[in-house]
């Protein structure tokens, strides 16, 4: 029967994450943004608490938690600071791809879960791919992606000239690429956002993890997991903005009374609460679905992420709006949450594209072509 109760084990894990978020992440948020990375102390503590290997398989010393547990923990952490969460090692998208690999033990992670390994889905417009000696050469500069700066290993997925999907693992000790910080100022500044530069970079045959239908299936399943996990982080930042807004506005007076007594304020805050709760429920439902049925639940995952991205923009924007001029100042956290939420939307796909995907699934159209068959 329908239930919205976490298990006791999940509750215990969430309490640890919440405490860490409240007492450390929230405090360290501005400093991490300034230095463009979480401090060593924060990383060490997150590692100690087991919070950065939630998705990784046990064979790689990860916790291999079900998604329904992870979404609660990630919401709790992102409530502290989404920027730091996106900058922590181990919580990269590649974890989900590693999780679904049939033999993850064959990967040589440079430093176990503490390593940042971005997963770059290379698009045709940004990187040119040519075949060479059973492998491929990559040429071009990627769009800004999370976790790229300073990464010593990369997971890349791309389409070969004939349209075949390829999934490969690149290691800096064997393969050359550069990264570039660029001029990123919007948000998620501690998330190592940058561009990868491939200059005739060779993907050797032995770097290829999967190709063809196998690679497509792995990417689809990992994408489904990533969508749910990233949606959960959106819920965390929404809740942060909502609660701060309630606290602030309950003290703020104008025209002789507390401003929530004006319905322009209280109704907006009610909408923020409704959107946050709606997004959280969708994330939980998607997590349950993906845990049960894997990539078959792409519709649920797409629905959850699209809704969460839209709601995150709405809620964090209204958080700034409700604080008025104060909301625009960096003395208050809401402006950062708004910037971070917007950057999250930019990095994790246009919500319209996710809605399209869910709609295509509902309609039964061919995924790539959008054609009724």
């Amino acid at each position: 029967m329908i239930s919205f109760l976490p298990s006791e084990e999940e509750q215990a894990f969430v309490e640890v994450a919440s405490e860490f978020a409240r007492t450390q992440l929230r405090e360290a948020a501005r400093e991490a943004e300034k230095s463009r990375m979480p401090s060593d102390g924060i990383v060490a503590k997150a590692h100690e608490l087991g919070l950065i290997s939630l998705e990784l398989p046990e064979s790689l010393a990860g916790s291999e938690l079900p998604l329904v547990s992870q979404v609660q923990i990630l919401e709790a952490l992102s409530y502290g600071d989404l920027g730091i969460v996106q900058g922590l090692p181990g919580l990269c998208d590649s974890s989900s791809l590693i999780r679904v690999l049939p033999d993850p033990g064959r990967l040589e992670l440079a430093d176990g879960a503490a390593q940042r390994v971005p997963w770059l889905k290379l698009e045709a417009g940004e990187i040119a791919v040519v075949e060479e000696k059973g492998g491929f050469r990559l040429q071009g500069v990627t769009h800004p992606r999370r976790s790229v700066l300073g990464a010593d290993q990369l997971l890349v997925s791309f389409f070969a000239p004939g349209g075949e999907a390829v999934l490969a693992w690149l290691n800096r000790t064997e393969t050359e690429w550069r990264d570039e910080a660029g001029d990123v100022r919007l948000g998620l500044l501690a998330a190592h956002v940058g561009r990868a530069i491939f200059d005739a970079t060779l993907v050797r045959q032995e770097d290829i993890l999967a190709r063809g239908a196998e690679a497509e299936a792995l990417v689809r399943e990992a994408e489904t997991r990533v969508a749910v996990l990233e949606a959960a982080k959106c819920v965390g930042v929404m809740r942060a903005s909502l609660e701060y807004t309630i606290e602030y506005t309950s003290q703020r007076k104008a025209f002789g009374q507390e401003i929530p007594k004006f319905q322009g304020v209280s109704f907006t805050v009610a909408d923020m609460a409704i959107e946050t709760e709606a997004a959280r429920n969708l994330v939980w439902q998607a997590a349950h679905a993906v845990d049960a049925r894997g990539a078959e639940s792409v519709r649920e995952a797409a629905r959850a992420l699209a809704y969460a991205l839209r709601s995150a923009r709405f809620v964090t924007n209204q958080g700034v709006q409700m604080l008025g001029g104060a909301g625009y100042l960096q003395e208050y956290p809401v402006e950062k949450w708004m910037r971070d939420a917007q950057a999250q939307c930019v990095l994790y796909g246009r919500e319209t594209a996710w809605f399209e995907r869910a709609g295509g699934r509902a309609l039964g159209v061919a995924e790539k072509e959008g054609v009724l068959v």
Binding site: S266, A270, N281, A304, A358, G359, L363, L372
Partner: protein, 389 residues
């Protein structure tokens, strides 16, 4: 089972009932014999037909509220106006169940049998008191053996054909909420008349009546909960009866809105599959709209289930009930509107979606407007901060 009924018994007469602004009598009689009622989806689960002793047999964690919202969604998917017309105590059931004495429950709920369709109704709104329930002016003057009611009630679902109506009145307007009393007024009581059945934008097959009480004597036995119920409690007990009814019925109304939205969405999916040319790209904006509708419907459904789940746990659910009602009422209209947009002019002519669009608008109004739901949510959010809105 409920979906089967909705698909095979309700949907086939949906457009006919809308055009004729009534549900056929023989259909209602047949359905009544089948034991189908919207009350099966009321909080309390069985529409009050349960015997007193059976309450002890309930499992520790009740599921009736969750089953109720699931059933309500399915019935509204079939047709919301027909669902509201199904025989049973309707919105009058929850206050009788929650506040009535054992004798009153037996007397008023015991009439809903399979031999003949009967209805109950709930009369709160007045021409001058809609969202502000505390402002009702229907008067209840204490006299020997009972009360005399005088006043006017509007927008009463099944009010004309109901065997009885739970009517709210005040013994003294200056007392505000503390003066409220709930009475069960039976059809045929002298001074109690149905003066008009309203013609509406949608839900046309559902009867919406105006009721008038003119020196209408109601015996003391019909005061819901009896005198002691109002004497033993601090102040606003009658008002609380009205409000607690809303906490119970709003998730049902929200679930019905979800059912309507889903009906429009599924109808439109089928339309696109059938009418759009094979082998050609479906426009990306159409795909995105369908995906967005899918997300909105699921979000509203989950909020509704959450409110029902809290009720099953016996936890206060006023905030969640208001959240689901506010959200479902709004998005269901958006979904129906987007469906019409996708169908284009074809949708205007003999298709279900235009009817659903007309039907669904009121789900953002009745059982508390969207604005009232926002007020309730905001009150609950600011309460812990010592702020009373």
């Amino acid at each position: 089972m409920v979906h089967w009924f909705a698909e095979h018994e309700m949907r086939p007469i949906s457009l006919l009932a809308d055009r004729e602004e009534r549900v056929p009598d023989d259909w209602l009689a047949k359905v009544n014999r089948m034991g189908i009622s919207l009350s099966m989806s009321n909080f309390g689960g069985d529409g009050g037909k349960k015997k007193e002793g059976e309450a002890r047999k309930e499992p520790r964690e009740r599921q009736t509220n969750r089953l109720g919202v699931i059933a309500a969604e399915e019935l509204a998917w079939g047709d919301p106006a027909i669902a509201l017309s199904l025989p049973g105590p309707g919105l009058g059931g929850p206050p009788v169940m929650s506040t009535g004495t054992p004798e009153q429950k037996e007397r008023f709920l015991g009439i809903f049998t399979k031999d003949e369709p009967r209805w109950g109704a709930y009369a709160l709104t007045e021409p001058g008191a809609g969202s502000d329930v505390s402002g009702i002016r229907t008067s209840a003057k204490k006299v020997d053996g009972g009360y005399v009611l005088n006043g006017h009630k509007v927008y009463i679902t099944n009010g004309g054909r109901a065997s009885w109506v739970v009517a709210f009145a005040t013994v003294d307007p200056s007392l505000g909420r503390a003066g409220h009393r709930a009475f069960v007024v039976e059809k045929g009581t002298p001074g109690f008349t149905c003066t008009r059945v309203a013609h509406k934008m949608g839900l046309r097959a559902s009867e919406t009546a105006e009721l008038v009480f003119e020196d209408c004597f109601v015996p003391i036995d019909n005061l819901l909960g009896g005198e002691a119920h109002y004497e033993n409690r601090a102040g606003s007990s009658g008002f609380r009866v009205a409000m607690s009814t809303f906490d119970s019925t709003r998730p049902i109304v929200a679930a019905m809105a979800v059912g309507i939205a889903r009906a429009a969405y599924e109808y439109t999916l089928d339309f696109v599959k059938k009418e759009y040319p094979r082998g050609q790209r479906v426009r990306s904006d159409v795909l995105a709209k369908l995906g967005e509708m899918d997300a909105k419907i699921h979000a509203a459904r989950l909020l509704t289930w959450e409110a029902a789940w809290k009720a099953d746990l016996g936890q206060p659910n006023a905030k969640e009930a208001a959240m689901c009602k506010a959200h479902a009422g709004r998005i269901s209209l958006e979904v129906c509107s987007d469906c019409l947009e996708i169908m284009g002019p074809i949708g205007l002519d003999g298709h279900l979606v235009e009817k659903l669009y007309r039907d669904v608008k009121v789900f953002d109004i009745f059982e508390g407007t969207n604005q009232i739901q926002h007020l309730i949510v905001a009150r609950r959010l600011y309460e812990p901060h010592g702020l009373r809105l």
